[in-house]
Amino acid sequence: MQQVLKGGSLNQEQMVLIISAILFILFSITLDSFLQISNLLSLLQNVSILGILAIGMSVVIIGRGIDLTMVAVMVYSVGWSFSMYLDGMSILPALALGLLLALAIGAFNGFLVSYVEIPAIFATLAMATVISGLGRFALVESDTLFITVDLGLLGTLGSGRLAGVVPMPVILFLVLACIAYVALRFTRYGAFVYAIGDNYTAARNNGIANRPMTLLMYTISAAIAFFAGLIMTTTVSTVNTKLANSTMIYDIILVVVIGGIGLSGGKGSIRNVLSGTILIGLLLNGMTIMNISYSVQSILKAVILLAAIIVDSMLNPRDEQTSQQGDI
């Protein structure tokens, strides 16, 4: 299998793009209203929040980590901001406090992983529960917050359209993708992330400050989570903290892995996130148009994730020399 996959000149990203293209053509032919600019834009809009979260997640995964707190950070940091806002605080300080909270949680995640040396999957799994518990206990009183006041300019983050056509979330997703692409590809810090993910010890031996870098990665993913939460909130004028208990975090991992970013770290780029996001967007859109039932949709998504992980483990086998306990 590995030989077959590697024998061809295709890598996973190209495979995903080809599958996406096939689906795209198939849907265009078989589904009446699929091939319309408005449908394609709504397709992109519906996955842009997922895509934004996946960008944050991919930074951490490339650095050989994983951040299972992203959804919890997203709903509770933004939820806290808006619950203070609804209690009468003005919007900017409320958002600043929420962002600070997200950054603090991200930094603490990074601290647990890099300084306390708890494997990322356990540290962030435990932290996700801590954040949800603390959030419910002290930060957000209700599961759902309704923002009935007009947020003005801020509201356009989620529900506005550029030139009256392109939904703002899509623009923001693409802008963030560009920033992340440049940061990972062309800056020193980006190179450090790849080096740490590829071989932690070698990176340290080469003088990279592994620990502060790891701390930075988790802080960035938390900041991106806050940003995604803000867009989500302004799209539907609601903060839904129930999401912290949903399977959304797996959807984010699905997008990252399916695009071809290896879970063992050091491989892949933002391009992979884009192709993964597009494939998931196509699938969700097509399945909704075909009115496929919820359970079957879940099964299809799960099968795709499984297939992507199998392909990932074939293409990116665990490196016995650099693997360490707790790696995924």
Binding site: T148, S159, M232, V236
Partner: protein, 340 residues
């Protein structure tokens, strides 16, 4: 001098005796009307436990009424919130069963998940009240929505609002598929619409009680069915997302949202007024909250053998439209907390 002193002591004594005499009626027991003493004593040292699904407008409304009632009558009211986790809810129920409260109230997000636990609680001698979402097993009481009827009422609204001049196409947005309002509500919608062939259900998707997911599904369906008449949703909290998608697509004039909800001021009435919801079947949380408090009050006095006399208090549905909504149609948690 000495005499005067004695006199003043006597005077004080007389005064004290006099005031004691004045006070004595208040110190005596209040007249018993035959029931009052029995009534008050039936709440002494009683414990009422509640395991909700999570902490949202409906549960907060019920809890507000229960806390008000517990404070007034003097029983102990405890809440353990599993935060939407069915596992954590089952654990909370197990824990409560071990602690043997006098009444156990719970709300289940999954039709069958807690069935065994209800039976165990009743075997342990605890009176059980099921709140809003019923398991197939009967306990001492069920208080909550008649979800089949809610679905049927919404379907009739679809018939009314998507009649002539429209495509008659509607899309259903349900919650998690195992949740009672989804199972029964969708059945109610489908059974009712079977008699009205002019209305067609073009999609039936689960939005998981999540506004964002409803928004995604709705925005896709709006492109696919450009002549859609209505979204028929099963909870206002979720259907706000569908309304947002319609507004984004600029299709407010053509596509409407028919929904149901507990009648919370912010998610219900304000959205009916601002045109997001064209029709709203209110399953009034305020009524349910009062009924719950009353049922607890009764069960604590009667103290029946658990499960021996099951009774139901199905909520009276009320239709709210932009024309009929009034200032008193909805409630706030604060009002319920104050006994309103």
């Amino acid at each position: 001098m000495k005499l005067g002193n004695k006199k003043s002591i006597l005077g004080i004594a007389a005064f004290v005796a006099g005031t004691m005499g004045l006070l004595s009626p208040a110190l005596a027991e209040r007249p018993d009307d035959g029931l009052y003493d029995l009534y008050t004593s039936s709440f002494e040292d009683k414990v009422v436990a509640f395991v909700p699904i999570g902490m949202y407008d409906l549960t907060q409304g019920w809890i507000a009424a229960m806390e008000h009632s517990a404070e007034r009558l003097g029983y102990d009211f405890q809440v353990r919130d599993p935060n939407w986790s069915i596992d954590a809810g089952a654990q909370a129920l197990e824990q409560f069963i071990a602690e043997e409260p006098d009444i156990l109230i719970f709300q289940n997000n999954d039709m069958h998940a807690y069935t065994k636990l209800v039976q165990r609680a009743m075997q342990a001698g605890i009176n059980v009240i099921q709140m809003n979402l019923k398991t197939p097993v009967n306990s001492d009481a069920f208080i909550g929505g008649d979800w089949y009827a809610v679905g049927a009422a919404e379907a009739m609204e679809a018939v009314r609002l998507c009649g002539e001049g429209t495509s008659g196409k509607v899309a259903i947005l349900q919650g998690p598929v195992t949740s009672p309002p989804s199972l029964l509500g969708v059945a109610g919608i489908e059974d009712t619409l079977a008699d009205y062939p002019e209305i067609t259900i073009v999609a039936n998707q689960a939005a998981d009680w999540d506004a964002t997911k409803a928004h995604s599904i709705a925005s896709t369906l709006l492109r696919q069915h450009q002549d859609l008449c209505a979204f028929v949703g099963l909870w206002d909290n979720q259907d706000i997302g569908a309304a947002a998608a319609i507004r984004e697509a600029g299709m407010e004039d053509q596509v409407i949202v028919i929904t149901e909800g507990g009648g919370n001021q912010t998610s219900g009435c304000e959205n009916i007024r601002n045109g997001m919801f064209a029709s709203y079947t209110k399953v009034d949380t305020r009524d349910q909250a009062r009924q719950l408090a009353s049922a607890v009050e009764m069960l604590l006095q009667v103290n029946p053998e658990p499960g021996s006399q099951p009774f139901g208090l199905y909520t009276d549905n009320q239709l709210l439209t932009p024309e009929s909504v009034s200032d008193t149609s909805c409630w706030t948690i604060e009002q319920i907390r104050q006994g309103g």
